[in-house]
């Protein structure tokens, strides 16, 4: 089964980042094609997503090669495929305007009148589109529909897939916001193009749409810049217009999406105003993006249901008591597997976060850019996971992989930290990852060094579960638990560390063998 995930616009890109982190944690399918659609190629969010994508693909390649294999480990378990240039811009030329793209000057007089009637505002016709469609979905839709037909970028790969006959349906997820420019324009346009192409070649395709309603706000800029900026106050109006359009569209074409997931926030999160686009616009990760990513993975795993009336509903369950502060916890977050016995998203992301903390705090200093001290090299874990699999730590390729892993851990930890940060007193509190334990180093002995103490406390308490395994349980597992047969090279250490960081399960006393 072929899976495609398409993120459109700034919000779509941020959701794609969340999808990649979930795939790294083992929640994704065996493989997935990723496409980034953004008119503003230099956007900070695109840059951040590309960093995650590049390091993910580097790690997947290194840890699934002949010399080093993760086998069937859930860690980095999804093979992410993307074109060499994963970003597709409908109008890639510099300083391009809608007028220039459609060559208005070369049109017949009647066509010019029609063009002017459709895009009656001067700024829609003549605004440079390098930095996106600035909250003007009508402009984006016209540009996107015309450019997609040329079949460049990820379209060529997708169109090829859509021409291969087979019984297995191709699952495609489209992620976008309804309140911006690029996302709102691309969401129905791209879905319609895909559906039309699949119908033409009679290929079974299932399309899941993940639509994000306004979920953040930002303050107005201090002084007017003269640029046509997106304003948070416009979001509700834009959303209303778009929802009316989507309503008509979906009534006219009821099969456009097999599943439509709608994600929003009753109390939008507060973000700083970072300006009109380009590299200044690198927004922090927010909770709805994680929920959108889980929805995407839910669709890729479970596919379309025969019953079109099924309504999956997830939402915040308020804490008891009228004065209890509102806070989102893991119980409020949907799972990926339809009938998961435990909370698979919590377990997978919690394990990955503990893995990142453990690797960066305790193992990276021993493995990167230096020979380990003799008393470390003698330890059981080192012999089983480093010496015995024949890992040469002075080898440049090994160091490169470890450095890439460190880089990924940096990105993932900061993503988790962003998710759980309260930026404004009005914001809904998100209690998924507890980073405050690291600052105080609570729950640990006073004698321990502060940094180590903080990391140990962070490892133990970053995800609250009733019977959490602690750091000593993890170290015991790392030293003694059975190594999976299909692992080799550096994959042995990486997988064993990941499995040892699981939240719940067997605990070890020091005397158990």
């Amino acid at each position: 089964m072929s899976c495609h995930v398409i993120g459109i616009g700034g919000t779509g890109n941020k959701c794609l980042e969340a999808v990649l982190h979930c795939c790294a944690a083992g929640l994704g399918p065996a493989d997935a094609n990723i496409a980034i659609v953004d008119q503003d190629r230099a956007n900070g969010n695109v840059f951040r997503l590309r960093r995650v994508l590049d390091v993910y693909r580097r790690l997947y390649r290194d840890l699934h090669s002949a010399g080093s294999s993760l086998g069937d480990s859930p860690l980095f378990g999804t093979q992410i495929k993307a074109p060499d240039d994963p970003v597709w811009s409908p109008l890639p030329d510099l300083q391009v305007t809608l007028e220039a793209h459609f060559n208005r000057a070369g049109l017949t007089q009647e066509a010019q009148l029609l063009f002017d009637a459709l895009f009656e505002e001067e700024r829609e016709r003549a605004q440079p589109l390098d930095e996106g469609f600035r909250g003007r979905p009508v402009v984006g839709a016209a540009a996107m529909y015309s450019a997609a037909a040329e079949g460049e970028g990820f379209w060529s790969e997708l169109f090829q897939d859509l021409q291969v006959e087979g019984d297995d349906p191709i699952r495609i997820v489209v992620l976008a916001s309804i309140f911006g420019g690029t996302g709102a324009a691309g969401f129905p346009s791209i879905a319609r193009l895909i559906r039309k192409h699949a119908q033409r070649h009679e290929v079974p395709v299932e399309i899941g749409g993940i639509l994000l309603l306004p979920y953040f706000k930002f303050p107005e800029p201090a002084k007017a810049t003269g640029e046509h900026l997106t304003r948070a106050d416009d979001f509700l109006h834009t959303t209303q217009q778009a929802l009316l359009y989507y309503h008509d569209l979906l009534r006219a074409r009821p099969g456009l999406f097999n599943h439509l997931y709608v994600v929003g926030a009753a109390r939008p999160f507060t973000l700083p105003n970072l300006g009109p686009g380009s590299n200044r616009q690198e927004n922090e990760a927010l909770l709805p993006e994680l929920i959108a990513a889980l929805a995407a993975l839910h669709f890729l795993r479970n596919g379309a249901t025969a019953d079109a009336s099924v309504m999956l509903r997830a939402g915040h369950k308020a804490e008891e008591g009228p004065d209890a502060p509102l806070a989102v916890e893991w119980n409020d977050i949907p799972t990926v597997r339809a009938n998961a016995e435990t909370h698979d998203a919590r377990d997978a992301l919690g394990t990955l976060l503990r893995f990142a903390v453990a690797f960066q705090s305790f193992y990276k200093p021993l493995l990167i850019k230096r020979a380990p001290p003799a008393d470390i090299a003698r330890q059981t874990w080192f012999y089983r996971l480093i010496s015995r699999p024949g890992i040469q730590l002075h080898d440049d390729s090994v160091q490169g992989t470890l450095t890439a892993l460190d880089g990924y851990c940096d990105l993932f930890v900061s993503w988790c930290r962003d998710l759980s940060r309260t930026r404004h007193s009005d914001d809904l509190r998100v209690k998924l990852f507890a980073f405050d334990a690291a600052a105080s180093g609570e729950h640990h002995g006073k004698q321990a060094k502060r940094a180590l103490n903080g990391s140990a406390a962070l490892f133990d308490h970053v995800v609250g579960v009733p019977h959490a395994r602690r750091l000593p349980d993890m170290f015991y597992s790392l030293s003694a638990e059975r190594i999976e047969r299909s692992r080799s090279g550096l994959g042995v250490f990486v997988d064993q560390l990941f499995r040892s960081c699981r939240l719940e399960g067997q605990k070890f006393s020091s005397w158990r063998e």
Partner: protein, 197 residues
């Protein structure tokens, strides 16, 4: 059906029994290792000839002092067993969570070993100077001291006793230490390679 109080009590009892059961198992296997290594260590009475006692004929010397040598050895081995149990208890109560923490256990192991050595030598010194109220241990030490002019027989006795104590201590700590701290025991890493592959 809602949970009732006795379900929690049953759960707590079950957990307690499981914990106690594990401890009994661990202590039992540690004692087994100790007994085996202890029996193996009761060699001084075989290696050392009985001290010459001018007041007794040879046949009587053998029967009189062999039992006393065995008693001294048993006392020293029991001391080592207590230290070994203390070590296992220590690593149970202070489980290392990281390789950096595990390194510190090397220092702790040597500290335990040094204390054991000090205690056994202290026992010898006490037995020679004051002597216990049972058996003829003080007389035995003195006879060994007098048997040769340079006191080499007494030195050999003390050395063999120390060797027995160290052997018991080492065997238990190397065979019963968890994989996270076994590298702290000298040559423990090689034992670990055989056990946790």
């Amino acid at each position: 059906m809602p949970h009732t109080g006795h379900i929690f009590v049953e759960g707590a009892l079950e957990a307690a029994f499981r914990e106690v059961g594990e401890w009994v198992m661990h202590i039992g296997s540690a004692v087994l290792v100790a007994v085996i290594s202890g029996l193996w260590s009761l060699w001084p009475n075989r290696l050392l000839p009985p001290p010459p006692d001018p007041g007794l004929p040879g046949i009587h010397i053998q029967s009189r002092y062999a039992g006393d040598v065995l008693t001294i050895t048993a006392i020293v081995v029991t001391l080592a067993l207590l230290f070994a149990m203390g070590w296992l208890l220590f690593v149970r109560m202070h489980r290392p969570g990281t390789p950096q923490e595990a390194r510190r256990f090397r220092l702790w192991w040597w500290l335990f070993a040094a204390l054991l050595l000090a205690c056994t030598i202290g026992f010898d010194a006490w037995a020679i100077a004051i002597g216990p109220s049972f058996h003829q241990i003080k007389a035995l030490y003195q006879l060994y001291a007098k048997s040769q002019a340079d006191g080499s027989e007494l030195l050999l006795l003390v050395l063999l006793l120390e060797l027995s104590a160290v052997l018991v201590w080492y065997v238990i700590s190397v065979l019963r230490s968890p994989p996270t701290v076994i590298a702290a025991v000298p040559f423990g890493a090689y034992v670990a390679r055989l056990r946790w592959r």
